[in-house]
């Protein structure tokens, strides 16, 4: 099958998923018992004022009309007005997203080389003590809640050793190196969560490629060990790892809610937390749907990368 057709089908599936997700998110916000206008104005407000605000917020219309209106505007980045700030939601969400991408980028820049290197290394020494220890570290790091690893890391590196700042919020106007210095500690809990999965995937992929016929052929051809490893083994081993990395992005987003709250970092995770706490539903729904969009885009990017790297899907050779 051609790359274009595969990716087209994937994109259509992603759109369908997003449409369903938006309906779930919207329905989630509608579970609110009682009246939004009543919640904003307080229990003593005049019923007429409540009715007026309901009309102003468009809450007196049928649910389906409200949903369609919401989703139609969301696509044009008009995400409604926040209940808490009485201001458009979009600048908050997009600004926070920028911060989160920065934190996520630092975490990925650390974990991808680390995870792949550890996985390949483990595979090359499969069954030995170092392989088992790395596996154990990866497994326990991946299952611990981010707030637990975050607290322990803050205590060790921030409080006792005083090596890294304990808050992710850098002074205004700080240059990039200072920003990165503030981002190392908050990114570590995310790194720990992803490290185990990545390393395990890379290990399994490498083991499989090492056992494959083409590797034996390459060795028997008399190729140098290093050439075999780089050209034949790693290239095939890392394909599934790339796909897994992207699917873990959604997981990373969940971690962001905790880590950003813990480190007082103004990203999308803090925004979701604050909006949930203040029951600011336009903000909450927009931010949560945005997380879904990011996840879908990451999945598509992974599929594209996978298709480009996989020789079996390359058009020139397939046809």
């Amino acid at each position: 099958m051609r790359i274009g057709a595969i990716l087209g089908r994937r994109a259509a599936l992603a759109l369908l998923t997003l449409a369903l997700l938006s309906a779930i998110v919207f329905a989630g916000g509608q579970l609110l018992p009682g009246d939004v206008a009543r919640a904003i104005l307080g229990p003593l407000a005049d019923p007429r004022a409540v009715a007026t605000l309901d009309r102003e917020l468009g809450l007196d219309r049928p649910l389906f009309v409200q949903y369609w209106d919401w989703i139609r505007h969301f696509v044009t980045l008009d995400m409604g007005e926040s209940y808490s700030y009485r201001a458009p939601v979009a600048p908050f969400v997009l600004g926070a997203l920028g911060y989160s991408l920065k934190l996520g980028a630092v975490a990925f820049a650390l974990v991808v080389p680390l995870g792949i290197a550890s996985g390949v290394w483990s595979a090359l020494r499969a069954g030995r003590l170092s392989d088992r220890i790395l596996g154990l570290i990866g497994l326990s790091a991946a299952i611990l809640p981010e707030f637990v690893t975050g607290i322990v890391l803050i205590l060790i590196f921030g409080i006792w050793l005083k090596l890294l700042p304990t808050s992710a919020a850098w002074p205004p106007g700080a240059p990039l190196p200072v920003q990165l210095h503030h981002l190392v500690l908050p990114s570590l809990p995310l790194v720990l969560v992803l490290f185990g999965y990545l390393s395990r995937m890379a290990r399994a992929g490498t083991l499989e490629a090492l056992a494959a016929d083409y590797t034996r052929t390459a060795v028997l051809k008399g190729l140098h060990r290093r050439t075999v490893l780089w050209r034949h083994v790693l290239r095939n081993a890392l394909l599934p790892t790339i796909t897994v990395t992207a699917t873990q992005l959604g997981y990373l987003m969940g971690g962001l809610v905790v880590v950003e709250t813990l480190f007082r970092y103004p990203g999308i995770g803090s925004l979701i937390y604050a909006a949930a706490r203040d029951r600011d539903f336009p903000m909450l729904e927009a931010a949560v749907l945005m997380v879904g969009v990011i996840y879908a885009l990451a999945g598509l990017a992974a599929d594209t990368l996978h298709a480009l790297l996989n020789p079996r899907l390359r058009p020139s050779e397939a046809e």
Partner: protein
């Protein structure tokens, strides 16, 4: 893919995991009677004292003994997480049996809903739902259970698909057995192995999620000595060098999570179905 129960206790990971969970379960059940101090008694004059022979883990901002609170703090999470898991597995098994056996439109719909749910991390879905319906223990159980249900259903459905065309099911149909009998008396016993594995893995996630939600203020509520809650309450103090309430409660969460996951690993290994 049958469970080999006799082999289970011999596996090291499983035994150590079960021992850790059993330790905390014991603390949860009879901790009140063995702790040296009343975990709810304030003692403002002794607030924030460092670990000492009298107070092994120090005291918190209200002067309450951290050691006693950590021991008793296992109770709420070990009540909420198993109930949420049971709800999720129960609903999921029902949904998986029906969608796997009948296929059709409901099957398609559940599949799509699962895809959509997987696009969002558990914690974010829970925050959205709990913000809408308000935070209470039963809300936390309901939300986690409802999100788990389709995920469990996917596993059960896959297992049912490989059973539904086997001869014993066809025989039951020819005997004119009622559908409910075929689902629960014929198919269900044969798909128990993946259900047990899925349940043990889900239990690990439930512990993780409940602890995280409590830390965020959306889970177990004060004055419970819950660990996640205690970390959130004392977290602001660590910049002043008050590390003991935060550290010991974090370590308690870590040990329980690791224990549950070790046990789940053991179950998975016993079933002989490694990785997910």
């Amino acid at each position: 893919m049958r469970l080999t129960w006799p082999a289970l206790p011999r596996r090291g990971t499983f035994v150590s995991g079960v021992l850790i969970v059993a330790f905390w379960a014991t603390c949860a059940l009879c901790g009140r009677h063995i702790v040296p101090f009343d975990p709810f008694a304030d003692d403002i004059l002794n607030a924030l004292s460092a670990p000492s022979p009298a107070h092994w883990f120090g005291t918190d901002q209200l002067g309450r003994d951290v050691f006693s609170r950590v021991v008793v703090g296992a109770r709420d999470i070990l009540e909420v997480a198993p109930l949420a898991t049971a709800l999720g597995v129960g609903l999921g098994v029902l949904l998986g049996l029906v969608t796997g056996y009948f296929r059709g439109a409901l099957d398609e719909l559940v599949g799509r809903v699962i895809d959509a749910l997987l696009a969002l991390p558990m914690v974010i879905i829970a925050l959205l739902a709990l913000a809408a319906i308000g935070h209470s223990t039963s809300a936390v159980i309901g939300v986690i259970g409802l999100v788990f249900a389709p995920l469990v259903a996917r596993t059960v459905r896959a297992a049912v698909l490989s059973e539904r065309d086997l001869d014993y099911v066809a025989a039951a149909r020819l005997r004119n057995e009622p559908v409910l009998y075929i689902l629960f008396a014929e198919i269900l016993p044969n798909v128990m192995a993946p259900i047990v594995v899925e349940g043990s893995v889900r239990f690990g996630y439930a512990i993780f999620t409940v602890a995280t939600l409590s830390f965020m203020g959306f889970g177990i509520q004060p004055p419970s000595p819950d660990w996640g809650l205690a970390v959130a309450e004392s977290y602001g103090l660590i910049n002043g060098g008050i590390w003991w309430p935060v550290l010991f409660n974090s370590l308690a969460v870590a040990s329980l999570v690791i224990g549950v996951n070790l046990a789940a690993e053991g179950v998975q290994a016993a079933v002989g179905e490694r990785g997910r």
